[in-house]
């Protein structure tokens, strides 16, 4: 039996990680024991309630975000000076660090935090009492958790993958990376991706079938709209990724011939990956767009400008998302005709995006603006995102792309768009929905510090990268030479990265003191417009009792304007049945154990874990939460 870890030389950063994890673990354990928090942990392990599952998504998404952020700081420290030898982050280690940075940020930080916000806000925004399938919701979360943990474990066994977040074949096949490193990527992403698909499915059914009476599709808040369309994107994109990873797994484990060998085709991996990868960009951006729309209307005290145009543009962006994947492959050699077609479809994306930007600006025009932290993040987003969009149009010119390709210019571009939309959107969302999640409101002054440090750091980091890239610095390289004229720009970038880090630290401190102070706020701290602000903070488990009747967009706001309460109905709608269960937790983690067994060739472990997963299916079938509610005749459901 091959025991990972003890057979090879252990680098100092891995030792540092083990030591810090053990120390943090002991501190946490003493805290839990002293404060007697076991019941809380047990409750959250078994919960199926949408707010609690959403909270878990946020917590673990944020933890993974911190880890990926530390990776980013390590990257920037190594690149700060020419011929730098910072700690041990050169050569292979550098490849591992940028791989984990990219993979973690996309799959284990940005996506789950957005799913967390959807989980918290979407049912409340439409007047639903929970997601349509509470059990499945918990399964989705724990799958993400298990996948993320598995991926993170790689680092502790000094086996972090080093194939880039795109996992390009043939590098990712066993021909070039025979060790378990790349397996961690394949299995970690696969398991969490499965969870993402389930959550998306759940959100679609919830939005279509559990809206409050009168909440027509065209009366829904834009965040809900964005979540709906994003969920459709997830269904298609993550499924294609799942099959790509499935094929890659077969290549690695069973020596099939998809991506290497005389007939194998590495370009096929690129197609599969980018049919997923490009829509993924919009999976990250669209919910953020929705959040900004809701936040800007709330803090402008105005209805959103051009609501139908906003909805149509979300739909158009989603459709175009699937027509542009080849723009990641302009230099692969698919020919001028293919490149031209995809250049045009790529440029077309600028149109609906432009519509959205102008609608946000027109929403603010003539409004009563309140400069709260969520609003500041939304305002910071608009110009930053437009800058990223402009470089995107530059990159879509396929002829010019041969110059920009794989340089820091590309790095600058995608960080400009993804950070500006997703990460600023998540921050805005956290500040905005924090009262609904915890019942407390984050400190505004610290929030503003967070915003300014982060925004300035962001531009300081990524703006110089345009210049670095144009001056010829390729991405994914760990160093450059003294006389190349890259030193000053790189050094500025590094300063910016640390400013962002300080910004996030301020936010962390903010979370810490806010939770510590325990100052409750009411149900409507922001003077909101939509249904989520009518329920108590934090959102209770039996919300919307009795059901509000919706007669217009922003119903709560207009009711407040008229000085009346929302009209309600006693009509009983069929609401999802939720019952706490530990099965989702066990099932998802057994899948991680199964992957572990496969990776290290411990077939007995894989078989045991696989049997365990099927046992969970069967136990679940025999302990269906519907059993106690069914078969009681017509009026047996008063208490649901």
């Amino acid at each position: 039996m091959y025991i990972p870890f003890f057979e090879k030389h252990v680098p100092s950063d891995v030792i540092a990680a083990w030591v810090s994890v053990i120390i943090i673990g002991i501190v946490l354990a003493t805290y839990v024991i002293k404060q007697n928090k076991w019941s809380v942990i047990w409750e959250y392990m078994r919960t199926t309630h949408h707010r609690k599952v959403g909270t878990l998504y946020m917590i673990f998404g944020f933890l993974f975000f911190l880890r990926a952020g530390v990776d980013a700081l390590l990257i920037r420290s190594q690149l700060a000076l020419p011929q730098n030898e910072f700690w041990l982050f050169q050569f292979q280690k550098y490849n591992e660090v940028f791989t984990t940075h990219g993979t973690m940020m996309i799959f284990f930080a940005a996506t789950p935090m957005l799913l967390g916000l959807m989980n918290v806000a979407v049912p409340l925004q439409i007047g639903a009492r929970d997601l349509a399938f509470p059990f499945l919701n918990a399964v989705g979360f724990w799958l993400f958790f298990a996948g993320g943990m598995l991926f993170n474990l790689a680092f502790f066994f000094d086996s972090a993958p080093a194939i880039g977040w795109t996992g390009y074949a043939p590098l990712s096949t066993s021909l070039f990376t025979p060790d378990v490193n790349s397996d961690y990527y394949v299995f970690g992403v696969q398991i969490s991706g499965l969870g993402t698909i389930f959550t998306a499915l759940n959100i679609i059914v919830t939005i279509f079938r559990h809206r409050a009476p009168g909440m027509k599709l065209m009366r829904m808040p834009l965040f809900t709209w964005a979540s709906l369309i994003t969920s459709f994107l997830i269904l298609v994109a993550f499924t294609v990724l799942a099959i790509g990873l499935y094929l890659l797994m077969f290549d690695r484990m069973f020596d099939t011939k998809f991506f290497n060998g005389p007939d194998g085709d590495p370009i096929f991996w690129q197609h599969l990956f980018w049919i997923f990868g490009h829509p993924e960009v919009y999976i990250l951006a669209l919910p953020a767009f929705g959040l900004f729309s809701d936040i800007i209307t709330t803090f402008s005290k105005k209805r959103i400008f051009g609501y139908p145009a906003m909805v149509i543009s979300i739909g158009t962006i989603a459709f175009l998302a699937f027509t542009v994947w080849v723009h990641h492959m302009f230099t692969v050699g698919l020919g001028p005709l293919v490149n031209t077609v995809f250049a045009l479809t790529t440029m077309a994306i600028a149109v609906p995006t432009g519509v959205k930007v102008f609608n946000w600006l027109f929403t603010m025009r003539g409004g009563v603006l309140r400069m709260t932290t969520p609003m500041l993040f939304s305002l910071g987003f608009i110009p930053s995102f437009v800058m990223g969009g402009v470089t995107g149009v530059m990159l879509s010119v396929s002829a010019a792309d041969f110059q920009f390709h794989d340089s820091h210019f590309v790095v600058a571009h995608f960080h400009y768009v993804i950070l500006a939309s997703t990460i600023l959107g998540i921050f805005a969302g956290i500040y905005y929905y924090f009262p609904k999640i915890t019942g407390y409101q984050l400190n505004e002054k610290l929030g503003k510090w967070h915003f300014w440090l982060f925004l300035i750091g962001y531009h300081l980091t990524f703006f110089p990268m345009h210049i670095t890239g144009m001056n010829g610095m390729p991405r994914r390289t760990f160093t450059y030479d003294v006389g190349e004229g890259l030193t000053a720009t790189n050094f500025i970038s590094t300063i910016g990265a640390f400013l962002m880090g300080i910004g996030v630290a301020v936010m962390f401190y903010n979370l810490f003191i806010t939770i510590r102070k325990k100052e409750r706020v009411g149900s409507d701290p922001w003077d909101g417009r939509t249904l989520e602000w009518t329920v108590a903070s934090p959102a209770p488990e039996d919300s919307f009792q009795p059901m509000p009747i919706v007669k217009e967009m922003d119903p709560y706001w207009y009711a407040k304007q008229r000085g009346e309460d929302l009209e309600t109905t006693d009509e009983k709608l069929a609401s999802p049945i939720s019952r706490d269960s530990i099965i989702p937790f066990i099932m998802a983690n057994l899948l991680a154990v199964l992957s572990f067994g496969l990776m290290y060739g411990w077939i007995w472990l894989a078989v045991l874990a696989g049997a365990g997963v099927f046992m969970c299916f069967i136990i679940r079938a025999f302990r269906d939460e519907r059993e106690q509610y069914y078969g009681k005749g017509e009026d047996g459901h008063e208490s649901v």
Binding site: L201, T239, D265, A621, F622, D624, R626, Y630
Partner: protein, 190 residues
């Protein structure tokens, strides 16, 4: 099934439909993979590999299992277990025969030296058809669970729900098999 249960059942139907949509995309991607890699420039040609007899036999058993399931479903509404149980049993039997035929088919191919790693054509063949076979195997387990649920006397409306969801799954698996017949086998056998 009262209104409340019907509404929840509609949720479940809608959700499962979306799930089948996801599965459909999965299989479509694998079909595309098969089309890209078949026939491969090296290794055996598909017409050398496939055996007409086992393909036809297994198709007969799997496709008629959809019919026997419909027969069984007729016993569902009136709780006519005399109709439901035997026909569901036949469905399970047919599925098991199909699985046996698949296993022997794969076994013969491997004996002849056509393995998973022989060529990209065979890789994509085994991955696609194998995933479908895994679906059939999962369906067999599901049917056994349905039998046990009958013993447990759960509320009939809940049993209808569980049964119907399974039947959507089973018909879907059959439709995928028709796709496999057309895309994988027919072009090289006849």
């Amino acid at each position: 099934m009262n209104q409340y249960e019907a509404a929840l059942f509609n949720d479940k139907k809608f959700g499962f439909l979306i799930y089948l949509f996801v599965e459909a995309i999965m299989f479509l991607t694998l079909f595309a993979t098969y089309l890209i890699f078949t026939p491969s420039s090296e290794g055996p040609h598909p017409s050398d590999v496939f055996e007409t007899k086992s393909v036809i036999l297994s198709s007969i058993f799997l496709l008629s299992s959809s019919g026997t399931l419909i027969m069984s479903e007729r016993g569902l509404e009136g709780k006519q277990l005399k109709k439901l149980i035997p026909w569901l049993g036949v469905t399970l039997l047919f599925a098991l025969v199909f699985l046996g035929l698949e296993i022997s088919e794969f076994y013969t191919y491997v004996q002849e030296g056509y393995t998973l790693s022989t060529s990209s054509f065979l890789s994509s063949y085994y991955v696609l058809v194998g995933l479908h076979a895994a679906h059939v195997a999962f369906g067999c387990g599901w049917m056994i669970v349905l039998f046990i649920q009958l013993k447990r006397h759960i509320p009939h409306s809940l049993y209808i729900e569980k049964y119907k969801i399974f039947s959507y799954y089973w018909h879907f698996v059959d439709i995928v098999w028709i796709g496999i017949l057309l895309v994988v086998y027919v072009r090289y056998i006849f």
